[in-house]
């Protein structure tokens, strides 16, 4: 079993090395098949391990010594427990489908081996992240996925804008990573260990811990999660990350990597559970992000930007769930979101591929005739994300909205905020749907749908989007047991629902009504004719301008951080570097050189002069040796 666990992690790494280091050539089909096979094998290993866990309850572990310094005893520890069952199945399962999709999507690439090597490497790093048994191992995976994200966003690096987008993602993630590292250091200081299980036992077992320091540590971990999961204020990299190839957006920037922050907080749930202030903060940030990003998404015209802001917004939902203490619910939404958002991105990829790179939804329209499979699957995904029963998104989103009201740290404000965000979600997703698939085709390309390599993952993900919600049916319905809760509760803290002014059934009713309202508004404006929507948007000119420009957040950061930083860098480059650092470095070198010049006269080349020196030295030694004897 340990063998399977290591195999699951190492096979994609092997695939990556094979494609990227050894073969370094081949058609998209060949390299893609190799990479997909590696991902598929990893998926099979994950299924076997999950089956083993579900039937026997045995937690497979593997551990190798890493470093031992002072009281720090660090291992390469891997662990396959309940959360990992969920995460590794999502990562490898959806990962495999996206690998297969990429074979069709990247069919005209000159260097497909590079793409597939990065994709495999990402899969391996993500598996290290979700199987790591302690924070440093998790951090290795965390950095690994960050690196792959950077490499894949900037995959078309000849385009300087795309390379810059990769750099932006990397730099903003570094801010979060610094927070994460500080959090790890503080936890080591507090607990004397960084192993998840040991920390959990200490928190569960004693009430003597200093809650204030725990809260600080929790806060810094959340800063790390903010960067990775694109929460306010570190969310600006994710929309820019859409510069990467679309399968990358689907895999990394929707389904898996960006949920790493959610995973981290769920994994450390025992810590956040005892940190009420930080939990409130997490919920507030999540709710703000959900609303903020959803409002931006309503005004975007780039098909991938809409989905990117939607992802940011959905991650906000997950953080609300984490903040109110409903950790299993957050992971439930991670899973359902992975399915429908990956599906939406792949559908967008199919359309972009079929329209030869067109990304503006205003130049699409009427595509349901040209892309039948994409149309049907997208319908399911849109309905799921809008929250229509009985699709997956309905159950998970409703669970979050209800938990925001009744969770340990819940409040009616969070509930109201999330309901509004749900309304916006239903609106912008329907707007996207109507603009792309209905009306008349407004572009000038010749639309064509891709081959089976692209259709097969769409269909699979559509089935997933439709049914995975049944794994986490709410208790209030009394239809099916909540399998997911049963699975996760041993690993993440459970929670008691408090009483609220709504029951679960009523809350669901409100959620469905909100979704229908959002869809209805979108249908009213966008279904008859896009021209009418443009007129309506014109009347809301001020708001529309604000939203189209994404609240000028990027410009604000430019002024607040980038410009002062450039200014300081300029000073450093023009004054500190040449006058202070160079001077300090050059002084010893000049001293040495002067000393050397002084000493060259000794080496005259005259043998007799050397002999004189030798004689003098010899006599000195002799004198030293005999001094004691004579006196």
């Amino acid at each position: 079993m340990e063998f399977l666990l290591l195999g699951m992690i190492l096979i994609p790494l092997l695939g990556s090395a094979l494609n990227g280091l050894i073969l370094r050539s081949g058609s998209p089909t060949r390299t893609g098949t190799l990479a997909s096979a590696a991902a598929g094998l990893s998926f099979i290993a994950a299924v076997a391990l999950s089956w083993n866990y579900l039937t026997t309850g045995e937690i497979v572990t593997a551990s190798f010594e890493w470093l031992r310094v002072g009281s720090l005893d660090l291992n390469w520890g891997f662990r396959f427990d309940a959360i990992t069952v969920l995460m590794s199945l999502v990562v490898t399962g959806i990962g495999t489908l996206i690998h297969i999709f990429s074979v069709g999507y990247m069919d005209e690439e000159p260097t497909p081996y590079r793409f597939f090597a990065y994709l495999n490497l990402f899969l391996s790093a993500m598996l290290i992240l979700v199987t790591g048994a302690n924070l440093p191992v998790m951090f290795v995976g965390w950095e690994g996925v960050g690196l792959c994200s950077y490499l894949l966003i900037g995959y078309w690096y000849e385009d300087i804008k795309k390379a810059d987008a990769g750099l932006k993602a990397f730099v903003i993630n570094r801010i979060g990573d610094a927070g994460f590292l500080i959090g790890i250091f503080m936890l080591f200081q507090i607990f004397g260990t960084v192993d998840f299980e040991s920390m959990k036992q200490i928190v569960d077992g004693s009430g003597t811990l200093n809650v204030r320091w725990l809260q600080f540590a929790a806060f810094f971990l959340f800063v790390g999660a903010m960067g990775k999961s694109a929460q306010i204020p570190l969310f600006t990299w994710l929309p820019d990350a859409m510069a990467g190839p679309t399968p990358v957006s689907a895999l990394i920037h929707a389904a898996t990597m960006v949920t790493a922050g959610v995973y981290l907080l769920a994994r450390m749930g025992f810590l956040f559970q005892v940190s009420p202030d930080v939990s409130h903060f997490v919920a507030t940030i999540g709710c703000a992000t959900a609303l903020f990003a959803a409002s931006i998404a309503t005004a975007q015209r780039d098909i991938k930007k809409i989905l990117a802001y939607s992802t940011v917004s959905q991650l906000g939902f997950m953080f609300v769930a984490l903040g109110v203490g409903a950790y299993s619910v957050a992971l439930f939404h991670v899973m359902t979101h992975a399915f429908f958002k990956a599906l939406l991105f792949l559908a967008a990829g199919t359309i972009i591929h079929g329209l030869h790179g067109e990304q503006d939804v205003c130049k699409m329209g009427g595509l349901r005739k040209h892309f039948p499979v994409t149309f049907i699957t997208t319908t399911i995904a849109v309905a799921a994300i809008c929250g229509l029963p009985p699709l997956s998104g309905f159950f998970s989103k409703d669970a979050i909205v209800f938990a925001a009201l009744t969770g340990p740290y819940g409040s009616p404000y969070l509930w109201a905020g999330l309901s509004l965000a749900s309304l916006l979600t239903a609106f912008y997703m329907s707007r996207f749907y109507f603009l792309v698939f209905f009306g008349e085709y407004r572009g000038d390309a010749h639309p064509h749908e891709g081959g089976w390599a692209m259709k097969f993952p769409l269909l699979d993900l559509a089935i997933g989007s439709a049914v995975v919600g049944f794994l986490g049916m709410p208790h209030g319905l009394h239809l099916l047991p909540n399998y997911l809760d049963q699975l996760l509760v041993p690993t993440v803290p459970g929670w008691e629902e408090s009483h609220a002014f709504l029951t679960e059934i009523q809350s669901m009713g409100v959620a469905v009504a909100v979704a229908c309202l959002g869809i209805g508004i979108a249908a009213f404006f966008y279904l008859p004719s896009p021209a009418r929507s443009e007129k309506a948007a014109g009347k809301l000119l001020a708001i529309d301008t604000i939203l189209k420009n994404k609240y000028w957040v990027d410009e604000l950061y430019e002024v607040l951080f980038v410009a002062p930083f450039r200014f300081l860098s300029g000073i450093a480059a023009r004054f500190i570097d040449p006058r202070v650092i160079d001077a300090a470095v050059l002084f010893p070198s000049r001293l040495a050189r002067a000393g050397g010049t002084l000493l060259t006269f000794i080496q005259s080349g005259s043998a007799q002069f050397y002999l004189w020196i030798m004689l003098t030295g010899g006599l000195l030694v002799l004198w030293q040796a005999l001094k004691g004897l004579i006196v």
């Binding site: 060259t600 080496q603 005259s604 080349g605 005259s606 043998a607 007799q608 002999l611 004189w612 004689l615």
Partner: protein, 105 residues
Amino acid sequence: MIPASVQILHWSHYVAACLFALGLFGFLIRKNAIVVLMCIELMLNAVNLILVEVSMRSGHPEGLIFVIFIITVAAAEAAVGLGIILNLYRAKGTVNIDAFRELQG
């Protein structure tokens, strides 16, 4: 332990010291390579003289045997040294050692 009889200085020791000093300073001061080589021989023979004297007085034969070795080595050394000097002369047409300063840094 040095035997008590040896501790007394013999007149031949002064001779040896003079010979050695002569060789040393000749070696340091003279510029002709052949003379320099001869000065080395002079120093070796000063040592030989002491070895012979001490060996005779103490009755230990090792010193005498050692002298024979030194003479053999000195002969070899002279042969090699003269060979080098011959080559130096062929290179520059002089045996003045100040002419050979190529090894300076």
